[in-house]
């Protein structure tokens, strides 16, 4: 059993008590809600005559269903409009802060909460979305929940949970050029499998992780869930504090009302102890990580861009049935290099890679080049703030000049709940997080996951390309 880790400390601080079942009743410091997984929860509250216990600890935005082209109301999709209207009504009725479209602060829930300084070290954060693990980048315990649990948090600000084990994943060394946080996490999932993290929280540590920016750490923690870990985190450090300082909801530095100094010392006290005990430790070498691409139908089916799709004999026996399914569904042959695979659609965005640094990295590759003939490429900023910042830096113009479409913020084609989707057997190069069958809106559509820079490289060449060959 783990001891002295940040996970243990934060868990203990938020423990309200032990329920008769033996489960822990855990206080949730920040509850994020959106239009997809909250309407039924509010309906359950109404049915039971319950109120929201801590409306001031609940924050809403709309992201999954918002169109990224025409955002005028009512939305063209009546179902999307209905969900939007329900969120507007529920947040108003319960006096919950709501970052609506056009507020200047709307965006993907896992992009806007850090942006606003809502996400802070030492918090417990829950949201009806599996990528809530993103917020662990700040040294928070953050995890996804279902709608009945959204109801529980709304009604009590707590959840009934069992404690997770803690695995420390240490990545050391300098990242080679063209290798990003996305590649680190795809590499980790490739090594440990999509089920490897079940029952665990992942603590990401080591010199490589310490060297990542906050946005890189968010990408890393975001995809913990794809490795089976419900939450992943990085211990807070100066990089964390520098990111937070001055943000809207961050503690203020100015005297007499400021709490910044107090906050930093509290955050420091929560870091995993030097002699902390872990349930498991895994060590990886950053130098061995290449730009990584998935070839199959789970995020664990990834390879370096310079590798070939593994043949059956190179795959562990228990993984072979899934590999055979993947060969067939993807229509990619074992032994064939992944490089050179033709793509139809290129998507840059999502809670994994829709932040300003992601757009900068992609724009660097797009600059002075043209999207290949027959390829549809589009960029969806993660939030209104990201969009504004990108436009201030002229990134939108770089993308547009290269033939990319420049869109409004939202989840978009990561899961295709809005009009952005693949058609038929189209194959996408995507900076998102899931390559499941049918994930991007076509029941037979195919997804290759990769970093934003790799997506931009695929866009301008029309095929999977090693970003290192195009880098200046």
């Amino acid at each position: 059993m783990s001891r002295g880790t940040l996970f243990d400390k934060v868990w203990d601080l938020h423990t309200v008590g032990r329920l008769p079942s033996g489960q822990t009743q855990l206080f949730i410091g920040l509850h994020l809600i959106h239009e997809v997984t909250s309407p039924q929860a509010f309906a359950m509250l109404k049915e039971r005559g319950l109120k929201v216990m801590f409306p001031e600890r609940t924050v809403a935005t709309v992201d999954h269903i918002v169109p990224t082209e025409d955002q005028s109301r009512p939305f063209a999709d009546p179902l999307a409009e209905q969900m939007m209207a329900a969120l507007e009504e529920n947040t108003q009725a319960h006096q919950i802060r709501f970052y609506n479209v056009g507020s200047g602060s709307q965006g993907i829930v896992h992009v806007i909460a850090p942006e606003q300084g809502l996400t802070q070290p030492g918090m417990t954060i829950a949201c009806g979305d599996s990528h809530t693990s993103t917020h662990g980048a700040f040294g928070a315990i953050a995890f996804g929940i279902g709608t009945s649990q959204v109801r529980d948090v709304l009604a009590s600000q707590t959840l009934a949970l069992g404690k997770l084990k803690v695995r420390r994943i240490e990545v050391n060394g300098e990242l080679p050029p063209g290798v990003y946080a996305k590649d680190i996490i795809l590499h980790i999932i490739r090594q440990l499998g999509v089920k490897g993290g079940v029952g665990y929280a992942y603590e990401f540590a080591g010199s490589t992780i310490e060297g990542l920016s906050m946005e890189g750490r968010m990408t890393l923690c975001n995809m913990s869930i794809e490795g089976g870990a419900r939450c992943g985190y990085v211990n807070p450090d100066q990089t964390t504090y520098d990111y937070l300082q001055g943000r809207c909801f961050a503690p203020k530095a100015n005297w007499p009302k400021g709490n910044w100094t107090e906050a930093v010392s509290w955050w420091e006290s929560l870091r995993s102890d030097a002699d902390a005990e872990y349930d498991d430790i895994v060590k990886l070498d950053a130098g061995a990580i290449a730009p990584t691409v998935t070839w199959g139908i789970t995020p664990g089916q990834g390879i370096g861009v310079d590798e070939s799709i593994p043949t059956l004999d190179a795959i562990a026996p228990e993984e072979r049935p899934l590999a055979e399914q993947a060969y067939q569904y993807m229509d990619l042959a074992p032994g064939q290099p992944i490089q050179g695979t033709k793509v139809d659609v290129c998507f840059i965005g999502s809670c994994t890679n829709g932040r300003i640094s992601d757009l900068r990295e992609a724009a660097q590759l797009a600059q002075g080049r043209r999207v290949a003939a027959g390829v549809k490429a589009f960029v969806v900023p993660g939030s209104e703030q990201v969009k504004q910042q990108a436009e201030a830096e002229g990134l939108d113009q770089i993308f547009i000049a290269a033939g990319f479409e420049w869109r409004q913020p939202g989840c978009s084609m990561c899961l295709a709940m809005n009009p952005d989707r693949l058609e038929g057997r189209q194959i996408s190069a995507s900076s998102s997080n899931r390559n499941f069958k049918g994930r991007q809106g076509s029941a037979s559509g195919r997804t290759l996951l990769m970093s934003p820079a790799m997506v931009a490289s695929a866009a301008v060449t029309g095929q999977v390309t090693d970003v290192r060959e195009l880098m200046p």
Binding site: L13, V16, G17, L19, P20, S21, Q23, Q25, G29, V36, T37, P39, Q40, R48, L50, K51, M53, F54, R57, H64, D77, A80, M83, Q120, G122, G128, D129, T132, I145, G146, T147, S148, Q149, D152, A155, S156, L159, A160, G162, V194, K195, V198, I225, E226, P251, N259, E262, A263, W266, E318, P321, L322, L415, A416, R434, F436, K437, R439, G441, A443
Partner: protein
Amino acid sequence: MSQPSQVNADIQTVVQMVSGPGLPLVGNDIDTDRIIPARFLRSVTFDGLGEQVFIDDRAAGQHPFDQAAYQNAKILVVNRNFGCGSSREHAPQAIARWGIQAVVGESFAEIFFGNCIAIGVPCVRAEPTAIAQLQKLIAAQPTTILTVDLATQTIQANGQAWPIQIEPGPRQMFLSGTWDACGQLIAQVEAIQTTAQTLPYLTWHT
């Protein structure tokens, strides 16, 4: 915070035993996008999800959820890491609304497992060899009645029994009828306030 008004806060139904025919669904890492594709999440209710369960996989034909022999199934038998991916409760809701009352598998994704508890559907683990035997047995004789018993922690069929596992907390919640935790959680309002007062960040931007 607002004061709670506790009206009809939870549903108390003991879930000790689920008996009925089984449905074998072979394959590892079956994700919630396959169980219920995202386009069916465009709704403010869970209504109608039962008909849409595995809809894209079923389009290929011969899917177990469509086979006549399994139409009365109550126990779904799956393999490793079932329900991975998205946190959508729509996935267990779709399975339950189709008619499934318990799931037996080699392992489950964490969030899917939690969602199943919250809606009163036990997910229990069994050894891979037991799962393979059960899947084979059901396929050979779909009318076989399986019994998942949380009290004895076994699954029984044709006079045979296999051990099953479930964490002690969730097991106790089913056996005591407290799997819907909402009322229990709200009842601790004083302890909740006490904990909240010890968390420095709750007052930092007020």
